[in-house]
């Protein structure tokens, strides 16, 4: 089977400092990969390199495009990369405000990606927007409200709907549950888990919350100081951590 995403020796430096280095992995269709680590460990740098927001200094990120098979997204032209960014890829930001247009209604936010790939029928766009708002548990009567009128959890769900409406194959998530209270987090995770399974999405989730990866991720990568220090199946890594840092990380979780 061809991997959906093939990452080879990615490295990003900020001057002399290491952002992340020597990261390699394959992600297969339908697989969810978690990246955990403490703040400043290079998780977000890595994610931004993979999603094309940052240009890595070394390495290759090959994505299995629909027409031409595996292609290096770092060396492909910017229009092609941006096209991927609004069709086959999705990026869920930690702060919903970074991923939403706050002065455009919820329906417009969801419809934007459709219109970006040349949907030109208002009725169809609206129907799709209503459908997707429903899937993320936002009722139809809120479609013309602006995200500013939404709660934090709703904004995050709206961001997810906006990203998934074009049926992407790979979703990048940067701390999707950060800043939400625990009951809202639980619902959001439940929703995400459902959508990932239902649409057979592949996802890369960056988080420092081990509960999130326990619920969502098939595989886990633990990062520290820009290096990957441990990889494996999620349960394996969390239940039987080998590296000293992973052991520290796992034992730091509060038990209620």
């Amino acid at each position: 089977m061809t991997p959906l995403l093939q990452v080879e020796n990615i490295a990003k430096f900020y001057g002399a400092r290491i952002g992340c280095t020597d990261v390699s992995f394959d992600l297969y269709p339908g697989e969810v990969m978690g990246i955990v680590g403490e703040s400043g460990s290079g998780k977000s740098t890595l994610l931004n390199c993979l999603a094309g927001h940052l240009t890595p200094d070394r390495g290759a990120v090959r994505f299995d495009t629909r027409t031409e098979g595996l292609r290096d997204t770092i060396t492909m032209s910017e229009p092609e990369r941006r096209m991927l960014g609004r069709t086959d890829w999705a990026f869920v930001h930690q702060h919903a405000r970074d991923g939403l247009r706050m002065n455009v209604s919820a329906g417009g936010n969801v419809g934007e990606r459709l219109m970006a790939v040349n949907a030109r029928h208002y009725g169809d766009i609206r129907t799709k927007a209503i459908d997707w708002l429903g899937r993320v548990e936002i009722t139809e009567d809120r479609i013309d409200d602006r995200p500013t009128a939404f709660s934090g959890g709703m904004q995050q769900r709206l961001q997810i709907a906006r990203n998934l409406v074009t049926g992407p194959r790979l979703v990048f998530m940067d701390e999707p549950t950060g800043g939400l209270d625990v009951s809202v987090q639980a619902r959001l995770l439940d929703l995400l888990r459902g959508l990932v399974r239902e649409m057979n999405l592949s996802a890369i989730i960056v988080t420092h919350d081990l509960a999130v990866v326990r619920l969502l991720a098939d595989r886990l990568m633990v990062m520290k100081d820009g290096h990957v220090i441990e990889t494996g199946l999620t349960d394996q890594v969390l239940d039987d951590p080998q590296h000293a840092y992973t052991q520290l990380l796992v034992s730091s979780v509060l038990q209620v």
Binding site: E78, P79, V104, G108, V117, Y122, G123, I143
Partner: protein
Amino acid sequence: MSDYNFAYLDEQTKRMIRRAILKGLAIPGYQVPFASREMPMPYGWGTGGVQVSAAVLTPEDTFKVIDQGADDTTNAVSIRRFFQKTAGIAVTEATSQASVIQTRHRIPEEELSADQILVYQVPIPEPLRFLEPSEVETRKMHALEEYGLMHVKLYEDISQHGDIATAYAYPVKVEGRYVMDPSPIPKFDNPKLEMAGIQLFGAGREQRIYAIPPYTQVVSLDFDDYPFHPSKADHACDLCGATDSYLDELIVDDAGGRMFMCSDTDYCTTRRKQGHIGAQGVPYHEDAA
């Protein structure tokens, strides 16, 4: 006349502006940056249009200025006088006799010919500006032809008002490539953007010039199920009886009295001279105006 260089600007400046105009004509709808000069009038009064006019005027030209269709408003009168003073050129109010027409917010009703130039005053040249505040990002969107966002604005219109409520500065796609703001002309005028004359757009504060060459395809953006519709007040002109011109609505007393009249004053006067009379009109007299 020896006090000023011809048409106020110095020759080097005019060359710089002409280069921008030529580039604009070569890439229809593309916003060309230019080094906009300080003009003896405030931004928002047509500094961009005035600079473009100054660059294209020749001593043989006949100049006309309209503001919202009218030849006799402050803005039109002062710009016309400015060029009379600094260029000593002939001026006119008749659309057909002018070789260069500077306009604010209207296209003349009378069809322009191939030997005429229409200069627009533009406040915000970037059609995507109100949705995407970053200039870096909007330039990239133009470069990569990512115009989905423009439809988001039209979507918002329909979802809020039930129809595309944008009535002026209605976005257009020029020659199948660049999305362009036609300056705040009513969308009634959009179909006229495909014309025989040269159209130049100048934005002084924003330092941009763009252009539409003659006979260029200009398509107003819309949705399949909400097609573009050039609208006007459903009335005839009360002065000249014209049913095909864009109308201004005037409140004439405090008892709800109102009248509709052509916004293009030259068009209206010409028709009245020809003997057309509207519902509230009186026969034309030379000295009545």
